[in-house]
């Protein structure tokens, strides 16, 4: 029996349906990640699972029990909003507030809050007015506010957004380690695929309010060349890239940035990979197609149906995937 189960859940605001008929099962002690473009419904789905939003249709089950009334389930869940709200008072006051609402005694409250602040590296700022914190600090305090509640389900909306590199690493490490150390189930919406990879998350992609398993298109593992930081040596091919760091081991190329052609095209793009077409599928709407080439590893390109027809390609034929070095994003 899955710990959290969504059965045909639709959710939204007023009469606008944002999440449409989602069926999903999430196991206890795992990390579940939702990816997708802005407006795809990630936050709405998170808020529905966090019991901040009532489903318009379908039902949500936690630990096998259907959630009719949210109140009995609230103590199992803690939420970190995309932009956490800071109340008046000090950082410590803020972290203690949730515990206070949940009826935890003063001494225990102080201990738990300090431990949570320690964990997110904010203990030194515990007396600072919370409203005066920077965006990154607010994010970490928000995480501490949730962690000190010791939830069974931790819901994180864009937990690494706008964080500097060391803080991002810290948060990623907490997310990756927490399920094993405390048994918590983490559900997160993020654009940070490296975070999800590190946490070995079950990744789902939201598109037009529906979820589908994210197969991790165009994510390649490898190493940065020792000679220069513009060459990424993948397992099957080498890519020219910008913005790489010596410790980059994973890069991603958005299929939108990949140009598909029958022959190599003369252009300023640094990367041209030849491969056989192994898949063509509709993507989101009937106008777009996702074409996958086997270039040693699958490389996907997003093209319009009209372009595909004009190219006259078929599955099994050879084609070229072209993309600029700037299209390669280190993860």
């Amino acid at each position: 029996m899955s710990f959290i189960r969504l059965e045909g859940v639709s959710a939204g605001f007023d009469s606008t349906v944002v999440v449409n008929g989602v069926d999903l099962a999430i196991e206890r002690g795992t990390v579940c990640g939702f990816t997708g473009d802005n407006g795809s419904g990630k936050t709405t789905l998170l808020h529905t699972i966090a019991l901040l939003l009532r489903p318009m249709q379908g039902r949500l089950l936690i630990d096998g029990e259907p959630v009719e009334d949210a109140e009995p389930f609230r103590s199992k869940i803690a939420v970190v909003l995309q932009h956490p709200y800071m109340f008046r008072g000090s950082v410590l006051d803020n972290v203690e507030l949730g515990l206070k609402v949940r009826g935890v005694g003063a001494l225990q409250r102080r201990q738990k809050a300090q431990a949570a602040l320690e964990l997110v590296g904010m203990a030194e700022l515990s007396t600072r007015p919370a409203k005066a914190l920077s965006g990154g600090e607010t994010k970490r305090v928000g995480l501490a506010m949730a962690l000190c509640l010791e939830p069974e389900i931790l819901i994180l909306d864009e937990p690494t957004e706008n964080l500097d590199h060391p803080t991002r690493e810290l948060v990623a490490r907490i997310i990756a380690e927490l399920p094993a150390t405390s048994g918590v189930t983490i559900i997160t919406a993020t654009h940070d695929k490296a975070l999800l990879k590190k946490a070995r998350a079950d990744i789902w992609r939201l598109e037009n309010g529906r979820v589908e398993r994210d197969v991790g298109l165009n994510i390649f593992t490898g190493d940065v060349s020792a000679e220069d930081l513009t060459t990424f040596r993948g397992e099957k091919f080498t890519i020219s890239a910008t913005g790489l760091m010596a410790d980059t081991h994973m890069v991603e190329i958005d299929p939108v940035d990949v140009i598909l052609s029958r022959e190599p095209v003369a252009s300023s793009a640094r990367n041209k990979l030849e491969g056989r077409v192994i898949g063509v599928e509709e993507c989101g709407d009937s106008l777009s197609l996702r074409v996958t080439l086997d270039c040693g590893e699958p490389v996907a390109a997003l093209v319009t149906r009209r372009s595909w027809e004009e190219l006259g390609l078929e599955v099994g034929q050879t084609a070229v995937a072209t993309f600029k070095a700037t299209a390669v994003k280190p993860l």
Binding site: A50, L52, R74, V79, P84, V101, M145
Partner: protein
């Protein structure tokens, strides 16, 4: 000596009659505002946070009542506590308690409505966070009032401004009894009728000073909250 200089003399000499009137005014107005705050602030917050059938109608009614004419309230209270009224045996007519009752009715919708507006202006993330903590409407109201304390203070001050300056209720159910129910506004009305413009003017200056102090307090409070 002109009325203005006579008024200044009354003010600076701490005239006992003047002090008596000012004290009576402050006593009834502060009491009614305090009671309206006790009832109105939580009601205002709950009116925003709690869902119930007819909520929009209640909100509209409360807003309408903020413009309640003071003489209508005076008439209503008079009908209730007058000798023939249902509460006639309580002997409240022409007492400070009667004025407090009337001013409470005037102040309550102002406190409720402006508190509601203050809480409604709060960041929606605050309510989502409270909810995620497991706070129900009552607990969320308490937290929201603390967060929006400047707006709530403005509501209380606006209510105080309304009752300290009202004359209808104080005149109709207070009776303007010297040394007992005579307030600044009823005294101004009386003294003006008698042609005692100096005394009326001195009271007018004090009323304005009270209004100024109240607004200064509000400004300082807003600055402190930022």
């Amino acid at each position: 000596m002109g009325p203005l200089s006579r008024a200044a003399e009354l003010l600076f000499s701490a005239d006992p009659e003047l002090i008596e009137v000012v004290a009576a005014s402050l006593k009834v107005s502060l009491t009614s505002t305090f009671l309206a705050t006790l009832a109105g602030v939580p009601l205002g917050a709950l009116l925003f946070l709690k869902s119930f059938p007819g909520k929009n109608l209640v909100r509209l009614t409360v807003r309408t009542l903020t413009a309640l004419p003071t003489v209508v309230v005076g008439l209503l209270i008079y009908g209730m506590i007058g000798r023939q009224g249902p509460l006639g045996q309580w002997g409240m007519l022409f007492t400070p308690a009667a004025i407090v009752m009337g001013q409470f009715i005037l102040a309550l919708p102002i406190v409720v409505y402006l508190t509601h507006s203050a809480v409604a202006a709060a960041d929606p993330r605050m309510f989502a966070t409270c909810k995620s903590f497991g706070a129900g409407p009552w607990r969320s109201s308490v937290i929201a009032i603390g967060e929006m304390r400047t707006g709530v203070a403005a509501a209380i001050i606006a209510a105080f401004g309304r009752v300290i300056a009202e004359v209808g209720v104080a005149m109709m159910v207070g009776g303007n009894i010297k040394g007992y129910t005579r307030t600044m506004t009823t005294a101004i009305a009386l003294e003006t009728g008698k042609g005692e413009l100096e005394f009326a003017l001195a009271l007018g200056v004090i009323l304005l000073a009270v209004a100024f102090t109240v607004n200064l307090a509000l400004q300082l409070l807003s600055r402190g909250a930022k």
